[in-house]
Symmetry: C2
Subunit: 334 residues, 2 copies
């Protein structure tokens, strides 16, 4: 099966100037003569945690797995270079559950695969996952250098490792925020579970452009949750932050989700803690932040949501000027 | 849990000159200014396929996962640089099965973990896996640059990606064998399932030394099986091979296994097809092969087991001079 997949991939992967030797040997060979520093990141996505294979087209699952990894390169303001993909493929599909909320698609690659008989399932699933990844790889000029494809009796797991080139300004890190820096974010937050967590655009181009044009002190992508990922910056930068709670850009999805759940949670709660928005949180000196907000150089809005402060901790302040502690909430890696 | 693991790792990982930024950010930062070409390889090992977590100390599992990846660097004659580790950890252990053959260890890290209660299981398991990996990483001067640690309801999956530096002679590839080249192997083959598949030494130093001292045309490590991995060289090199069947070095394990199974299989059958020997198959011109065999520069023996030929296919020849087709057998990636 792995051999068939390699044949399929060899026909579809475009040549890439980085790749001296691609799929089919014990390892791929990359030309890195022009790269002085690179970042390396790995992210594993698993069924029932990061996606529900029984409910979505596997192409969207494959796309998400690569996009989440690209988002980590964005967080470091690194240019995508190359990646490898490891798959643990279930031998047989989980039962396709009917869902009252989402509705069941009538003809996904997954169902087609099952129709072909269980034996073909793994290959068809792998092909569908790659069909979701390849256009994104091409869009971001990422060389798919190799992979490892396994069948087993467990659920689907996808592990992707990416290399990215550090730009002349160096990597954007979590540990550079300084008291007085403004907290800037791209886009809006909350309710990604309604679908955006699968179909988001990683902010790679945005991070590279901002890092080149402005003096940024720190950055992170929002995977766990706006407040929790901000807390990750605070921990590494050893400082605190005050969020101007009325300034937090709330996604329409957050409003829809609060309404649908009707559990007392507000759209703001969802914006602060849902996670998987894959937007950027950035720290920039006040004058630089003013310039960014004035110039708005991206297609997606940049919003100022508060300030880094010397005192460790996280607070929210509302328009009445009342400042209260804010507990970071979001996805806990247990 | 991932944060606790990162703290644990930060205390134990030695500083490494390659690592500008290690664990704790969205990606690690590597200095690669001195590296013009690197190889990248990924290998995912899964419970019940590559190991049986219920039967072995997880330290041996972690060690195997890293060693198998190092073996892929050996196959390319590349020097280990850095690696990242992605784990999908079961929330609760599989039932520990009593095994008539192997005997059950009385106090593994796994059991200790279970004794601490299910909640701690994932962290204890991850720690044990890393305890198996770290000494090997240090031995091979490999920087553990980062990782991703996840809990889920599936079995254990370990995905490791390694970078290696290509030496001035370039990478050792599968596609360079030429008719007339001798087939050389390190070590002996068969019966690795009796334990060697967990505790083998990857042939990294051996490959680097041979590649530096001799003119090698092609190479591969034996993971799938001696005859099947030789067939991988044949396929990429577009040639054939004749194995001198009486010259194949048979491991004592192969004899023990044939005896234990008593199913009509011979020690030679096991040597040709069992796999996970993680020895090297090399192609070298006849005069160079003679020199290697005479000098025997390694602690492990080098053996000449036959010749590459122009006609595609695989044959065995015995001491009576009878030549018969040999079907490549071994681990099929289904």
């Amino acid at each position: 099966m792995e051999r068939e997949l390699i044949s399929w991939l060899r026909e579809r992967l475009p040549p890439h100037p980085l790749l001296r030797l691609g799929l089919g040997d014990d390892a791929a060979v990359l030309r890195l003569a022009d790269v002085d520093e690179c970042v390396i990141t790995v992210d594993m996505l698993t069924d029932q945690v990061d996606f529900q294979l029984s409910k979505v087209d596997p192409r969207r699952v494959g796309r998400k797995a690569l996009a989440a990894n690209l988002s980590d390169l964005a967080a470091m303001a690194a240019k995508p270079l190359a990646g490898v993909v490891a798959l643990a493929l279930p031998r047989v599909p989980l039962l396709r559950r009917s869902s009252a909320g989402g509705g069941v698609r009538s003809s996904t690659a997954c169902e087609q695969a099952v129709a072909h008989g269980g034996k073909e399932y793994g290959l068809e699933l792998a092909v569908a996952l790659y069909e979701g990844m390849l256009p994104l790889a091409e869009e971001y000029d990422l060389a798919i250098a190799g992979g490892d494809t396994n069948s087993w009796d467990g659920p689907l797991a996808i592990s992707i490792t990416l290399l990215g080139a550090v730009t002349p300004r160096g990597p954007l890190r979590r540990d550079g925020a300084k008291p007085g820096d403004r907290i800037l974010v791209t886009g809006s937050f909350g309710g990604s579970i309604l679908g955006r967590h699968l179909d988001f655009e990683p902010r790679v181009r945005e991070a590279l452009e901002l890092h080149a044009r402005y003096d940024l002190h720190a950055g992170i992508d929002v995977s766990d949750g706006l407040s929790l990922d901000l807390a990750h910056i605070l921990e590494e930068s050893r400082c605190g932050a005050v969020i101007d709670i009325d300034a937090v850009p709330i996604a329409d999805d957050a409003r829809r989700l609060a309404e649908r759940l009707a559990d007392g949670s507000t759209p703001l709660d969802h914006a602060l803690s849902d996670g998987e928005d894959f937007e950027l949180i950035l720290a920039a000196p006040a004058d630089e932040a003013r310039r960014m907000l004035h110039e708005q150089p991206l297609a997606v809005p940049i919003t100022d949501i508060g300030e880094f402060v010397a005192e460790p901790g996280l607070w929210q302040i509302d328009r009445s000027g009342v400042r209260r502690p804010l507990a970071p909430r979001g996805w806990q890696h247990t």
